[in-house]
Amino acid sequence: MSAATIHQVQVPQPKQHGKPGGIMRHLNFFTGLVSGVVLALVFGYVMSLQFPAGALTANFANAAAGPVFWAMMVGWVVGFMGGMGAFVGPIRWLLGRDLTHADAEFMAGKDQGKFRYWRFTTDHKVVGIQYLIVAMIILGFGGLLAMLIRTELGITWMEVFNPDFYNSLVGTHGIAMIIAMIVVVSGPVGNFIVPLMCGARDMAFPRLNALSIWLLVCAVPPLILSLLVGGIRDGWSVYQPLNAQAGPGMIGYQTTIIVFAVSTALASVNIMTTVLTMRAKGMTWSRTPILIYGAFAAAAMGLYAFPFYMYSQILSMTDRLVNTSFFNPIEGGSVWLYQNLFWLLGHPEVYVILIPSIAVMMEIIPVFMRKPLFSYYMAIAGIVGVVGLSGLVWAHHMYMTGWAPQANYPFMLSTEMISIPVGFLVLVVIGTMWRGAFWSRLPMMAVFAVIFNKMIGGVTGVYLSDVPADQYFHGNMFVTAHFHYMLMGAGLFGAMGGIAYYFPKMTGRYLDERTGSIGFWTAFAGFQITFMSMFVAGLQGQPRRVLQFDNMFDISNWISTIGAYVIGIGMLIFLAAIMSSWRSGQAAPSNPWQAQTLDWQTATPVPLENFPVLPVVTKLPYDYGVPDPLAPKKLEEQYDEKVGAPS
């Protein structure tokens, strides 16, 4: 039996079948694309044979359209993932052909240059970059739809789009942005940074990591295609019975959600297992960076909540395709069931977006203020509190639906209670900034922007959690402005700060501070113009998701549309800064910010195995300037006494 040397140890190897990588050498994004398209066409054709020409449903719709589109979606998913090589691992395992070290190195993209980004590559750094690019593409797509929506609403003297198409734009924009916001921090930071910060050589399950990113890629085309076959006309929540009455485009939405939920569950399992089992020696829970807590919390919420969303769409799909009656009241179903299943994910998802973003902020502030994180334990308590309460607030979205009116006030209480742990997090952020040595760079600017936006989003959220106030605000532009302040104002601007902060580690170059700042502040100004004006429209009573409205709302909408274009210009400038810096920016040293977490202690570009020797942690990574009186020194000392201080 042959052997390979891994970290100076001779390790026996299984038989090498052919060249390292085997069939995976021939599979990549392009083979996935071709086989996905071919299989989609084949499945669609086979399904179309099941329906006689001209067959109609009871309401005179084309009977074949839905099932054929569904079959095409199944064909796309199976074909794309098969063409990428996602099924090779399980089949090899079944046949007993285990990977050798050389196979694993090939799978990790060793010596493959940029082409490794187009493959089923297992290296967590490649996956992190892939997540960043995919998230930016989805954000760009969703942002383009936002521009079209604002164009329609801003041109108040005529209709730009057909009302059905306008509704599709709103729904598709909503879900595209939700998906992008979920992955824009958790994806790149969770995959690129968290293993480095843990002091690990890779994620716990590298192949699962590749699977989760390519499932995300696979989930995007069905959403875009759905626009061509009727679209999603009912908002991103696609409530029943509108869901059931929609055209075949809804199947695209459902396919996207099902595939995305599987991707998220796998990513969550991976991040949680990595954090729990692969932290460096000495990295006790009282020495673990707060970003790791944030990533773990987001993964935990996604793990328990996403399956409910997935099943809400599976049940909707079977209602549509095989005539089950989960949501059809005539046959014993209930539309409230859909709303409950949907919001069981729908609200925790807000924190899946927010918590990683705030955790990144809490990593940035000590570095740029040269101060310890204020009250590390309060930050942990805040994160734990949010996770604990996130599953108990879903029905505040259903106050006005008539479902269980007796439950409104308990849910009002639980929703208002969640502002307590969120308040902890804000206090930690402000406390850390207090009297710090302020270093004015773009990541720190993002912190101020996020605090500003989050305060507005949080305060307006308290009104919406209040049952009497919600009777007025529900379903109007006030709600739209509120959640944009939370998700975009805190989530996206936090992500921009995170990108600026981690850019040198991810790319080996500084983000162009000047161009990036111009883009960032332009987007920030546009954001305030757009959504402050939208608050006004909401207070005046303008309903959301409505194409035509009274003239009294014209001015608010003109201002919002101008603001939206300003956001678009700002985002394009920021994107230009990213692209030019990535290509030809100033080279950055391995630790340009002089940060103390492990991710900055390794070389840049990060070697394939991250650390030549696995690191040992001896203290909290926020040891700047004056020590935090609340830092867990005593616990550290107790641990060192019990376990022995690392040499």
Partner: protein
């Protein structure tokens, strides 16, 4: 003292990889549990509401159905395949664990035989599940009960197919010497998954057996909807069906 078995890809001890894999499996089970609970909650929710008296229209899905009686020797006919499938899966799980125990005492052939037998039993369970789905005396659209039962059985089928794949792989890998007494970890992981499959089937069996007749005997009635036709005669009001029908 024997040196520990090392992973050929990372060089870490196989026991370390096992602990990591076991935790990952637990998290996967948590996600799958959430999904199963989504189905169970849907079942219980619709059962408790009996919207429009449509939980089980005219009781056609239960024991007073002649077709169903003709296919089943038991009064709780619609449920027995669930329990039979659970029994088969339980036996397959026990057999697999017995094989793992025998391998621990050095009999690799014991695990090969046990995993092969477990695969055969699982194939029987899959066949029984398929038979149940294809011979229900109702379609998926015959009320909320029928819909919920169809989805629960589909979920069980998916779990069994995955379990069958995994146990078949254990058979093959043990035969090839990739699972042995010094590296039994993958067989144990599959054994844990089998335990969870049993629990998920049990959850379905419990609700379908003990939560059949809806407790809501005075449900809200929405009448009937039809496509709007201005030329159609005005329908005469019809009495809403009573729960006893």
């Amino acid at each position: 003292m024997t040196s520990p078995v090392l992973s050929p890809t990372t060089g870490e001890p196989a026991s370390v990889i096992f602990r990591r894999d076991r935790l990952g499996l637990i998290f996967l089970v948590v996600a799958d549990f959430s999904g199963t609970m989504a189905l169970i909650i849907s079942y219980v929710y619709l059962w408790s509401l009996n919207v429009n008296n449509g939980w089980a229209p005219n009781q056609q899905t239960f024991g007073n159905n002649d077709l169903l009686k003709s296919r089943s020797p038991l009064p709780w006919a619609a449920d027995w395949p669930f329990w039979a499938i659970l029994a088969l899966t339980l036996v397959a799980t026990i057999v697999l664990w017995m094989g793992i125990r025998s391998m621990r005492s050095g009999h690799r052939g014991g695990l090969v035989a046990a995993a092969a037998l477990s695969t055969i039993i699982l194939i029987a369970a899959i066949a029984l599940q398929w038979w149940q789905i294809t011979t229900f005396p109702f379609g998926p659209g015959n009320g909320a009960y029928a819909s919920a039962v169809f989805l629960l059985t589909a979920s069980v089928l998916a779990h069994l197919l995955l379990a069958g794949f995994l146990v078949l792989a254990v058979t093959n890998r043990t035969r090839a010497g990739l699972i042995s007494s010094d590296k039994p970890f993958q067989a144990r992981l599959v054994g844990y998954w089998m335990v969870w499959v049993c629990v998920s089937i049990l959850l379905g069996a419990i609700v379908t057996t003990f939560m059949k007749d809806s407790p809501n005997t005075t449900p809200a009635n929405f009448g009937e909807f039809s496509l709007y036709n201005p030329d159609a005669p005005t329908p005469s009001p019809s009495a809403s069906p009573s729960p006893a029908q």
